[in-house]
Amino acid sequence: MTLIEFVNLLASALLLAGIYAVMSVGMTVIYGVMKIVNLAHAGFMMLGAYLALELFERFRIDPILAALLVFPVMFVVGRVLHWLLVRRLPTSDQPTLASLLLMFGLWLVLQNLGYFIWGNADRSIYTSHTLSLLRFGAVTISTVRLVVFGAAVACMVALHLILNHTWFGRSVRALIQNRYAGQIVGVDDQKTASITFGLGIGFAGLAGALLASLYSFNPDFGRPFLIRAFVIIVLGGLESVSGVAIGAFVLAFVETFGILFVPAGYQLALSYGLLVVVLIFLPGGVAALTAKVRRLA
């Protein structure tokens, strides 16, 4: 491998990592606060993708801007679903069968709603930028990928700031660390859970809308991404937002550089392999590792 090839691969791994992070972070915050594994995540990504398509086709809104507009819409969708369904689930410190079934059922409903409204044809968003490339010396980067990466990183930074510098964010972190302790310092756990669910769904929609600029999609969109999101949040330690960022980078690098050694068709096998390795050697994910280091320091 020449140095130029290496740098090119490095750049594409980095760009992939950004979108992977945004795609997984919604699952992490929902799991952290509510201990619900959002199996419907892919369904909300699909909705986000189609919403972006509609905004682009009907109102000629730029797809990246459309993705940012999808976020508040999906946030509201998330809060309504929380009020209608999710808050009725039994509260628990572990994922419950009831929550898994609810979210899986929700995914099926969303998928079929997608088939009902948009049919089963593959769609894509095609703009004048879609095929444009930027050259930085010997490194070539797709303009759209770079913009998507920028939007993804901006959203991750915004979430990080919210979690660390607002009272809402602190209540989220408090509930993630210990729900009972959160309640006895006076945190309204239901309200925080509702907003968090909205944020999680909002991020799923946003990720789907951003991905819609890169890939074609149909109502079954998101399934392979759901599996990758699982790998990433397990790598990150399930409940840590910075862990998600690290997990996203690890997976993106493994997948990107993996094509040097195994055929591209085995990418998902690589993801699963990574998941197995992590579960065996680092079951607490990166977060457990950093916590250990911090305690020793």
Binding site: R170, V185, D189
Partner: protein, 254 residues
Amino acid sequence: MADAKPKPPILEVERLTKYFGGLAAVKDVSFEVREGQIFGFIGPNGAGKTTLFSIIAGALKPSSGKVRSRGRDITALKPFQLVQAGIARTHQIVRPFREMTVLENVKLASHFGRKNVTSDSAAEEHAMQILTWFGMETFAQKSASILSVGLQKRLEITRAMATEPDLLLCDEICGGLTHVETAAMLDWLRRIRDRGTTVMYVEHDVKAITAVCDRILVLNYGRKLSEGAPDHIQQDPAVIEAYLGHPPGRRQEG
């Protein structure tokens, strides 16, 4: 004169009953906690202490009966609503926010508690005041996870007090502590009472309870067995019998 009616008690429990299946864990228990007291309950294992405590703290719903505070019905309130109503609690097993510093732990209570300190710097100042009052200021910047068990228990109380409660519910705060630590902890309870917060205290350790409480409720098989000042309780034959069994020679038939 308008003082004919006394102020309603800070906690009033009326005919509280809780069934688990067909079994009554708590049956028809009534009592009042007056302001400025340390009020304790004791009882042998399985007497219903924890169930009664959990109902008052909003963690369990009673099968029947009412809990009032200053005349207001608080039976159906959730834990965070109780905090807003001026009733804070500690857990038997300490529950710090492990990934936060001691100061951040207390700061959350300053904001989300009854005081509702909004600005970041004011919350920090308020939290520091409470930490200093409890002699914890040197640990403020330390991670909560590295504190010893004794200090974590003190953090648990400090954090509860930062919500500025009128009534503090303490669940077995001396469990797992050494004699010296226990004595210190009981002293903190007295200081909290003298500072103006009424304390309700559940403990396994009869010695600790009788040492610190102004008034004690004794439970047995989910029912109220006795109530009164520590001296009264210690001499009540029914209480002695419940703890030590029947004196020889007076064993009842069947």
